[in-house]
């Protein structure tokens, strides 16, 4: 956050009236709703959330122990904003975009001290600016005036801010500048720097939303194969604790083929964020081979960091995502977990003594959630280009009960639902996405992509797998009662095929070097191999071969090793031909 620059005499200081946890009230403060204020002698950052008569209510983003009535409150006259510009990739922020590495330096301790502020991007650092326009060119808001190599992966585009008028370029520079130096001037008198600010609670303007037709390839078989997410789509991952939400989110952040990843750790564990901070710089991006951090922005507001900053971290993240979308990138945003965000709203709301809605959540919970998810989508940009934001929100339902308000309100909005299942997690079936409960409404609009990019019969093969899993689900009920051996032979065989679909295809080992990422072709071929087994086995069965003999064929257990095979094309060719040979030899 940077200090106010052009305020219109609204910044009259106030005085603290009362303090209760993160909620502080002040008198005589002349402020607008959502203005950022500095509270108390230590200058703790806060935001105006209610104005009533002479009394202003403020939520404070830092711990308030020791703060008392009578201390001053200083208004900045500006709403909570993020600093936008080169340097956001490869960064780690707290919920109000303070860079955590800079904070560590400034505070000189590993613990988060209070009252220390730092801008979201380095204002001193010089970047190599290459102009894209010439003097005399007419530019409008959103147009790109030049580029900056932000990281090895990302070319940062310097745009005319959306709230500018635009006009003809009168001066354009080239060379090394810091983010506050003017790189272009317009005949309207407006000056363009690499640095912009934008209020987080306001969506950046964009044109119309388009129907997404391209999948966000995640490299995870169950997600790409059965429940795909589109670039510009929304997904929710609800699951009880221990079901693998965070690992699933991290896998998406690591392997999905988005240009930019914004990862929000909202009210989650400190050690988990540390893992991301330590792992991401080491891991290669499967698309470019560069370090993953080069395209990643992390926002970490762990569960013990101030609750008000947890409320704002979601907005900080999505605003950063929108900024990169405006450059024409496909952005993927992961929020882990939206339940913690909702709880932060509840906590603040109850301190304000607002009338509670369902389970104590504020009545505006549904509105806030849908407002957030609606900032996702595939957009036509104001400069005529295209960009997208895909949002994946983890939900942590209390007691794993999906009927609670956050899960239910989320499900009303998102189109992909990855239901995590504690039962699967207990038997170490990962990713523990339940194939009976999950769904994706993007399937049909993404099929053409699969058919032209992967395989023409993709949708048939997928449907086949879904049918087998459905049938297994029904048969399982009978098996529970009478045992597997009491089933007719063809049903026993179906159960066997379903087992391979589950164990060899749906299961994927995130910790295995090869298996952790599965390209769409491999996803298709692996399922194809199981289908080959299915087709050949049923022919053998029809020819009178007993099911035990079919099961004992030596090539079948090798299906379980497909995921970890490095030379998978050859490996699968070999299995398929062995399967055919061995099964046909039985009759």
């Amino acid at each position: 956050m940077s200090q106010a620059t052009d305020t219109e005499a609204v910044d009259q200081d106030g005085v603290i009236e009362s303090v209760s946890g993160p909620v502080v009230t002040a008198t005589d403060l002349d402020a607008r709703m959502n203005d950022v204020v500095y509270v108390g002698d230590e200058g703790l950052m806060g935001e105006v959330i209610e104005i009533e008569g002479n009394l202003t209510t403020i939520q404070v983003y830092e711990e308030t122990s020791g703060v008392g009535p009578g201390e001053p409150v200083e208004n900045t006259g500006e709403p909570l904003s993020v600093d936008l510009g080169p340097g956001m990739m490869d960064s780690i922020y707290d919920g109000v975009q303070r860079p955590l590495d800079v904070l560590e330096d400034k505070m000189g301790t590993a613990f988060l001290d209070r009252g220390v502020d730092a801008p979201g991007i380095d204002l001193e650092k010089e970047w190599e600016f290459t102009p894209e326009v010439e003097e005399g060119d007419a530019v409008e808001p959103g147009d790109v005036v030049g580029t900056v190599p932000e990281t090895v992966t990302i070319e940062h585009k310097v745009m005319v801010p959306p709230d500018y008028e635009g006009g003809e370029i009168t001066t354009i520079k080239s060379g090394e500048f810091n983010v506050e130096e003017t790189v272009a001037e317009l005949d309207s008198g407006e000056e363009i720097q690499m640095h912009q600010e934008w209020p987080v609670r306001q969506a950046r303007p964009a044109g119309d939303k388009e129907t997404p037709t391209e999948p966000l390839v995640t490299g995870q078989r169950v997600q790409d194969g059965l429940f795909p997410l589109a670039k510009g789509g929304t997904a929710a991952i609800p699951g009880p604790f221990g079901s693998g939400k965070t690992v699933t989110q991290q896998q998406l952040a690591k392997w999905s083929d988005a240009d930019i990843v914004v990862y929000i750790g909202c009210g989650e564990r400190g050690n988990e964020m540390t893992e991301v901070i330590e792992d991401f710089p080491e891991l290669p991006d499967p698309q470019t081979g560069n370090p993953l951090m080069a395209r990643t922005c992390l926002i970490a507001n762990t569960s013990n960091m101030p609750v008000a900053a947890r409320e704002s971290c979601i907005y900080t993240g999505i605003t950063i995502a929108e900024y990169y979308r405006d450059m024409g990138y496909d952005v993927a945003l992961m929020a882990d977990s939206t339940s913690r965000w909702a709880e932060a709203m509840r906590e603040i709301s109850s301190r304000l003594e607002e009338m509670p809605g369902e389970e104590g959540y504020p009545a505006y919970l549904a509105a806030s959630l849908s407002e957030f998810y609606e900032r996702a989508g595939k957009f036509e940009l104001i400069n005529g280009g295209e960009g997208s934001i895909s949002v994946v929100g983890a939900v942590s339902p209390p007691g794993g009960d999906f009927s609670e308000p956050v899960t239910q309100n989320t499900l009303r909005i998102v189109k992909t639902f990855w239901a995590l299942d504690a039962d699967l997690a207990e038997r170490r079936h990962f990713p523990s996405i339940n194939w009976n409960e999950s769904y994706s409404l993007y399937k049909d609009q993404l099929d053409p992509w699969w058919e032209s990019n992967v395989a023409g019969d993709w949708s048939d093969v997928r449907q086949w797998a879904v049918d087998v899993l459905d049938e297994e689900d029904e048969l399982q009920e009978i098996v529970q009662l009478v045992g597997k051996d009491a089933l007719p032979e063809d049903q026993q065989l179906t159960m066997e095929v379903a087992r391979y679909i589950r164990e060899a295809w749906l299961q994927q080992n995130a910790l295995h070097d090869v298996d952790t990422y599965c390209e769409p072709e491999k996803t298709y071929r692996m399922l194809g191999a199981i289908k080959t087994f299915n087709d050949e086995a049923f022919e053998a069965l029809e020819a009178g071969v007993p099911v035990e003999e079919i099961q004992d064929v030596d090539a079948t257990p090798r299906l379980n090793r497909m995921g970890t095979a490095e030379e998978w094309n050859e490996f699968i060719d070999e299995i398929e031909s062995d399967l055919k040979e061995q099964l046909r030899a039985l009759y």
Binding site: E17, S18, T64, L103, F241, G242, G265, M273, S350, K484
Partner: protein, 474 residues
């Protein structure tokens, strides 16, 4: 320091007093009753002219004439290395008759959050000597791994066993300067609302094994004031952080019983007439618990570490109850005690299926424990889960109706409980022993069923002869 005699209202653990000077939020207050007793409390809400105070020792004996002193600072814990070996009450006063504590520092008990950027990811294996934990739900330094238990289950025995046996094997290689007294842990024990009898059990064990020397004990007993329970874990964790990050100790913090802590939280919430959340617990309980549990971990550039083992008894053995539920969302896994296993006499009665250690994967494997650890653990999970499923079926159709394959899984599940999990509270198994025992059991299953284990590892460890022996028997 200003003294007031302006109490206007006393309600439950809360006292309201009028003030004419501003008082800081969270500040410490001393209240002197007319009988000369001094009680301590904390500012819960501070407004112009009036403050509400939560009194740790309970409000008994306070009247309108009691005098209220604001100390002008938030609550501090006097810390020093000399605390090791001492027994303190729930507010941090010595109760062991020993000398007065001369503090090295006084630290704020509301710890500040560790900057996630400054943390070091925990990946040092702690050998607890308990197979169900080491083999299946490995604990690492800097982790917070609670024990989810129920009333009447032997969670205390397990906690004590861990406190006794926990070591970090083969500390010697590389960067072990600063902790030459090796792999032993300093133990901080924070008791909240436990009975005197339980407390004796712990103390006897500490004294018997000589563990007291490297321990600091905080005792808030069942008949001590409930409000004090809010402070006890914070004192314990402040001490732990000091020993770990200032003095380089590896600290193991045992907090018991978190359920009593949460009850106290609810009591105060109710007294303040707050809008209650689920089952009457305050809506901020997640944040409050996180502020305790997140005070575990390692910090880059510091030698020490804080590892937490909170114990909680699940009301009605229900893990969807808000206390275990919120805990599970914050901690890095959980060890779950099971009533059925307990009645079968399994010691410790750990049910590995719902148990989990989130930090296990990075703390095990080649160079840390053993190359085959991850695969063996996965395979045992899968096989035990399958055996468990089959048990339901056996009840209906009988064992004879099951295939040979199914019977093997059933046998596996039985042996897993009676040989692998069962070990008694005095057996200390090395990780080698645990894994070899695992292979003993897995070798009863056909090789082709071991689909979670790398083929090379199967070749190396699978016991061919046992399989044959089993076949001959059959």
């Amino acid at each position: 320091m200003k003294e007031y005699q302006t109490i206007t209202e006393i309600s439950g653990p809360l006292v309201f007093a009028e003030v004419d000077e501003p008082v800081g939020y969270d500040e410490i207050v001393e209240i002197e009753t007319p009988q000369g007793e001094t009680l301590r409390g904390q500012v819960l809400e501070s407004s112009e002219g009036i403050v509400s105070i939560q009194v740790f020792e309970g409000t008994g004996g306070i009247d309108r004439n009691a005098s209220v002193r604001f100390l002008g600072e938030t609550m501090k814990m006097p810390v020093t290395e000399d605390l090791l070996g001492r027994v303190l009450d729930g507010s941090g006063n010595p109760i062991d008759g020993g000398p007065e504590i001369i503090p090295d520092q006084r630290q704020d008990i509301v710890g500040e959050a560790i900057n996630p950027f400054s943390r070091e990811y925990p990946e040092e294996f702690i050998q607890t000597g308990v197979s169900a934990i080491d083999g299946m739900n490995t604990l690492v330094r800097g982790q917070k791994l609670p024990i989810f238990s129920g009333s009447g289950l032997p969670h205390n025995e397990l906690a004590l066993q861990i406190a006794r046996q926990a070591t970090v094997p083969e500390e010697s290689d590389g960067d072990s300067e600063g902790d030459e007294d090796g792999s032993e842990f300093a133990v901080i024990f924070g008791a909240m609302g436990i009975t005197a009898e339980e407390a004796n059990e712990f103390m006897d064990d500490f004294e018997r094994t000589g563990a007291l020397e490297r321990s600091v004990v905080f005792m808030n007993l069942a008949d001590d004031p409930a409000v004090e329970r809010q402070v006890t874990p914070r004192l314990a964790l402040t001490t732990a952080e000091y020993l770990a990050f200032e003095k380089g100790y590896h600290v193991l913090v045992i907090l018991t019983d978190m359920t009593n802590y949460c009850e106290a939280l609810r009591e105060i919430g109710a007294a303040r007439e707050e809008v209650p959340g689920r089952r009457g617990y305050p809506g901020y309980m997640y944040t409050d618990l996180a502020q305790l549990y997140e005070r575990a971990g390692r910090i880059e550039g510091k030698d020490g570490s804080v590892t937490q083992i909170p114990i909680l008894t699940m009301p009605g053995d229900d893990d969807t109850h808000p206390i275990p539920d919120l805990t599970g969302y914050i901690t890095e896994g959980q060890i779950v005690m099971d009533r059925n296993l307990n009645s079968q006499g399994i010691e410790p009665p750990v049910n590995v299926l719902p148990s989990l250690s989130r930090l296990m994967d990075d703390g095990i494997g080649e160079g840390l424990t053993r190359e085959d650890h991850g695969d063996v653990s996965d395979q045992m999970y899968a096989a035990y889960a399958e055996g468990e499923d089959l048990r339901d079926l056996v009840n209906i159709v009988g064992r004879e109706a099951l295939s040979e394959r199914d019977n093997k899984f059933l046998d596996f599940a039985d042996r897993f409980e009676t040989e692998f999990v069962q070990q008694g509270y005095d057996t200390n198994r090395s990780i080698e022993e645990t894994l070899e025992l695992g292979w003993d059991l897995l070798s009863d299953l056909p090789k082709a069923e071991l689909n979670r284990i790398d083929e090379e590892l199967i070749e190396e460890h699978y016991r061919e002869d046992e399989q044959e022996a089993a076949e001959v028997e059959a």
